[in-house]
């Protein structure tokens, strides 16, 4: 047992077996997580809307996701005539793979990080940006006018929101001085004001930066109120209109995987990752204790953020498309540039005197 543990907890060793072990674990986590996030989403929606939500399958509808998965898997995967069959089939794979690959760079707890690389953040964005291409391909290959409109929307939306998101990331990188996610979390140890979101002495606008990141994350994952790609009252189901069965199921899973990835990144960059405020885990407790406490803290923060994402979806109406682009180009980009400028000035200021 401890041999396995030691093998898994060597974040600096990039062994293929180790990475594979983590990938299998992550794939299982993503699958179960997506299924149960749907349940959480439906139950939260039901709570917001004063109704019970799924109740029939299992206690409190807990087995509903399994029934849904069985239903989706037993359906025929239709490829409509006239579509580009190769692209049509490849799009769900293309959207799911990068979402899973993003998980490899995430530090979950002290020692538990599949690949502790110095350009973790970069890896993350390299994989995260493929998402939009997959949605575009899926929409384009469907040979459906609604899907094509949706693809066009997805591309311009993601281009518009990647810029302020990266600007906020640059702000964080300037403050932390590293792109290694484990180090970024390590720097936020100790008191709650060591979390990057509360580092007001280094940049007064840090909460604003977090807010911008959060909004961009919502837009990048195509979540309400920015769900332009899947605006069901306008575009039926957007890029997924022609997908049936598990083809749709994979898109659906990828959507939730992307939410988890986005919220994990927000947790790591701004909310201290696996750090518990005012608690330094002594080494004498053993690696298990540290990992367990770290994991609990990480997931508590992560799911609190995910809950807000769901909460927003069931409260606000959808924005208009040009309103969305206006928000990005006219508000978010200038403000994120401002925070970038401010933090760089505040970093350099002590050196001037």
């Amino acid at each position: 047992m401890s041999a396995i543990w030691n093998f898994l907890c060597q974040p600096d060793v990039l062994a293929v077996e180790r990475l594979l072990a983590f990938l299998v674990g992550i794939a299982a986590f993503v699958g179960v997580n997506a299924a149960y996030l749907v349940w959480v989403e439906r139950k939260t929606a039901a709570y917001v809307q004063r109704r019970p939500g799924p109740m029939e399958v299992g206690p409190q509808g807990l087995l509903q996701p399994i029934a849904d998965a069985v239903k989706l898997m037993s359906k025929q995967v239709l490829v409509p005539p006239g579509t580009d069959a190769l692209l049509f089939r490849i799009a769900p794979v293309l959207i799911m793979t990068p979402a899973i690959m993003c998980f490899t760079a995430l530090p979950y707890a002290p020692g538990i990080v599949p690949a502790n690389i110095n350009v973790g953040l970069l890896t993350f964005f390299a994989f995260g940006s493929i998402n939009v291409m997959a949605l575009m391909l899926g929409g384009w290959a469907s040979r459906n006018k609604y899907a094509v409109i949706s693809s066009a929307r997805v591309v311009s939306q993601n281009v518009a929101y990647e810029i302020p998101m990266l600007l906020t990331i640059v702000t964080v990188i300037m403050m932390t001085g590293t792109m290694n996610l484990s180090e970024i979390v390590g720097q936020q140890a100790g008191a709650i004001w060591h979390w990057n979101i509360f580092q007001l002495h280094r940049n007064l606008l840090m909460p604003v930066t977090f807010l911008i990141f959060y909004i961009c994350m919502l837009a990048e994952t195509n979540r309400a109120p920015f769900d332009m790609a899947e605006a069901e009252s306008e575009l039926v189901a957007g890029a997924f209109t022609e997908y049936a069965g598990m083809g749709f199921g994979v898109f659906f899973m990828a959507e939730y995987a992307n939410i988890v990835v986005g919220c994990s990144l927000a947790t790591i960059l701004f909310l201290g990752g696996w750090q518990v405020p005012f608690l330094a885990i002594p080494a004498s407790w053993g690696p298990w204790a540290g990992a367990l406490i770290g994991l609990t803290a990480f997931f508590a923060k992560l799911y609190a953020l995910i809950f807000t994402v769901i909460w927003i979806r069931w409260t606000f109406p959808r924005t208009q498309f040009y309103g969305l682009l206006n928000l990005s180009w006219k508000i978010l980009i200038p403000v994120s540039l401002l925070t970038l400028l401010l933090s760089s000035v505040l970093i350099k200021l002590p050196h001037l005197f």
């Binding site: 929606a45 917001v48 809307q49 004063r50 109704r51 006018k145 609604y146 409109i149 066009a152 309400a224 109120p225 769900d227 605006a231 069901e232 009252s233 306008e234 039926v236 979806r313 069931w314 409260t315 606000f316 109406p317 959808r318 924005t319 208009q320 498309f321 040009y322 309103g323």
Partner: protein, 382 residues
């Protein structure tokens, strides 16, 4: 690189149709935003609409022809099935027409109950229209709140007439049942409840910045355009024209009550939204007054003949339904079935201005605009 002229570009084998390419998007008959089987043929330039042609007739049920084959009593249930969301006002027009033509006296109590139930129905209808519209705009929660409140109204109406949608509660010369204390008390309790809910909706939806940005200034419809197309109801009142059958051609007991006709001058979707929200408040006012003054007495005129025959002639009767002016015209040749029945429904005239008003709009805006017209598709096709 050689710059191609437009003709050369179009003639090129790689041309996809040229620089002025448009495509036809079939919105409906099965589309989530049309709430029924309305089909709109959209000619699109990118996401901009260059032409929108509504295609009706997918749920045509020949109600007018049915009217020519049925006796006046037999046609009564049909009237609940035109605009199933405001069945009371539609039935009211039919019974009103027959009562006017045959000079049947209606007891005062029946008239008051007709006003109360019609206004309750108007609130229920506006709630559905509001919720469904906000759902079109992507807000999923308000429709469930709206249905929750509508449920209370439907429970009250079910208690007195047994139906929840196609009420058919009115009869020539009165009502099918009298109202009892349970209904009166339930309606009295409903008024403060609904006023409280309206405050919640104002905070949750009306003042929501995203919603305001979506509908303010979207789909401006001028007064002139409304009059040209014969638009009516909240669409007309949202463009600044004070027109309401309840005050223009007072029927039933409406002149006994003190209420206002909400009018907004902007003509955009927000104006239509606010007209409907204000109308709910005004309907509550009418119900409150009618309940306070509800007279005792018979609920139906006992001297109504069993077989109704309209004297030969041409009769019309209009009521203010939730979506606007509903008018029935009957030409009678003195037999027990009408010679001709014409149903003038508000949704058809409100839809007819969609084609002109939606030119140049973005798809999402056009759907927001269509939601503001509050269309009920069976009412368009009849």
């Amino acid at each position: 690189m050689k710059v191609l002229s437009k003709e050369e570009a179009l003639a090129s084998p790689h041309s996809t149709g040229g620089p002025n390419e448009t495509f036809v998007l079939n919105l409906g008959p099965q589309h989530p935003a049309t709430h029924g089987v309305l089909r709109v043929k959209l000619t699109m330039d990118g996401e901009f609409i260059t032409n929108a042609e509504p295609v009706c007739g997918y749920i045509h049920r020949m109600h007018e022809k049915m009217g020519e084959n049925r006796t006046y009593s037999q046609f009564l249930p049909n009237t609940s099935r035109l605009d199933y969301l405001s069945a009371m006002q539609y039935t009211h027009a039919w019974v009103g027409l027959v009562e006017k033509a045959c000079k049947i006296e209606v007891p005062q109590r029946a008239e008051y109950v007709r006003v109360i139930t019609s206004e309750l129905n108007r609130i229920a209808s506006h709630l559905v229209g509001w919720g469904a519209w906000v759902m079109d705009l992507g807000g999923f929660t308000p429709i469930l709140y709206a249905f929750d409140d509508r449920e209370k109204i439907l429970d009250l109406l079910e208690h007195i007439c047994g139906a929840r949608l196609t009420f058919c509660y009115y009869r020539f010369g009165g009502l099918v049942n009298d109202v009892d204390d349970v209904f009166v008390q339930g309606t009295k309790d409903f008024i403060p409840y609904m006023r409280d809910r309206m405050k919640t909706y104002k905070k949750l939806v009306t003042e929501n910045i995203i919603l305001r940005k979506r509908i303010e200034g979207i789909g401006p419809v001028s007064q002139e355009m409304c009059l040209r197309y014969g638009a009516c109801g909240p669409v007309l009142r949202g463009s600044g024209f004070k027109s309401d059958v309840r005050i223009n051609e007072p029927y039933s007991a409406y002149k006994d009550f003190d209420y206002e006709i909400p009018v907004y001058h902007e003509g955009d979707s927000m104006a239509r939204y606010l007209v409907r929200m204000d109308e709910i408040e005004q309907s509550l006012r009418i119900i409150e007054q009618a309940l306070a003054k509800l007279p005792e007495g018979p609920f139906i005129n006992p001297k109504v003949p069993r077989s109704i025959k309209l004297p030969a002639g041409d009769y019309t009767y209009a009521t203010e339904a939730a979506r606007g002016r509903f008018m029935i015209r009957v030409v009678s040749d003195g037999k027990d079935v009408p010679y001709r029945v014409k149903l003038r429904t508000p949704c058809l005239s409100n839809l007819s201005l969609f084609e002109e008003a939606s030119k140049g709009m973005l798809l999402a805006d056009a759907l927001a605009f269509m939601g503001s017209l509050d269309l009920v598709i069976p009412d368009i096709d009849r």
